[in-house]
Symmetry: C2
């Protein structure tokens, strides 16, 4: 692996409520210089929850996704609040978005979305020993909850409305873990 490129200059390009665009002037170890742009994250990170119930079903939500201007089927997820740890955030998001609380929470892996131009990271959390528990969230409308059999992931992955790489990855990682333990 070559030495990391030297950062010659970092300059903010644009900021909005959600996004922070930054330019990077880089010199690679072979002397080549390039200008990159990347999206930075503030905040405390994010969590994505794979919640499995006693019937070996995974808890999915159907919500409006502004990036696609369409409803998608996905896993509960959200930002970690200040002072919160990832497991607590996962249990809160699960209650807000899907109406379940978990007694057992396990960190699985930190995923990136598009590391070439984004700093965003999300912690995948496995949630088990579920019980019904609803917390009020900031959703503009109630989310539809869908319980999907964990032993039929191929049919879920074939659906156009289930397209998020991180959600497919999270389910594969959990399915692999449960298969081998």
């Amino acid at each position: 692996m070559p030495a990391k490129p030297e950062i010659l200059k970092l300059s903010p390009i644009a900021n909005s409520r959600l996004f922070h665009i930054e330019a990077m002037e880089l010199r690679f170890s072979n002397g080549v210089e390039r200008r990159y742009e990347r999206l930075m994250t503030g905040g405390n990170g994010a969590v994505m929850v794979v919640a499995i119930n006693e019937y070996n079903q995974v808890v999915l939500i159907r919500e409006y996704a502004a990036g696609l201007d369409d409803y998608v089927l996905t896993l509960p997820k959200g930002l970690i609040d200040p002072g919160e740890d990832a497991l607590t955030a996962a249990n809160r998001e699960l209650q807000e978005e899907a109406g379940f609380a978990a007694d057992q929470l396990t960190f699985i892996k930190q995923l990136t979305a598009a590391p070439n131009y984004m700093g965003h990271r999300i912690d995948v959390i496995l949630a088990r020993s579920l019980s019904v528990s609803k917390l009020e969230g900031d959703e503009p409308e109630p989310l539809e909850v869908v319980l999907w059999p964990l032993d039929n992931l191929p049919e879920l992955f074939a659906r156009d409305e289930f397209s998020e790489g991180r959600s497919i990855a999270a389910l594969c990682l959990v399915e692999q873990l449960l298969r081998t333990t």
Copy 2:
């Protein structure tokens, strides 16, 4: 599934070479109004290539990822050029980034990265019948190519340097397909 929210207003917020930030004023079917921000894509989409050689190894590359300011292990990928179709783009990127051409190219699935706030989509392409063929790309430095046994994905997924949700998803989808056909 509720009716899609009505888009009351779309306004550009900021543009850079790579990023286009847009504000959306939405009215949900229950009457609730919200302001969203999203990242739009221009261009013709992108491809991610799962190339499998005759030894059942998948072709990985190690490249600098500006979003993380670090080297990552990932799949060959890139933007579709104007006038190019996804399979042609996949074969070009595979030659530019990893030095292989494929005789057999199959579309697997279109993935999204973070659909809640990004319109970005990437086509996963399975590439087989590989031969050595190098094309010059726009990389600032040569990429390291790593051949990884397809029957040992759990060890790959456990590595911190292999963190991209879309890459893990793409490998799972291909492994699932090859296992059942």
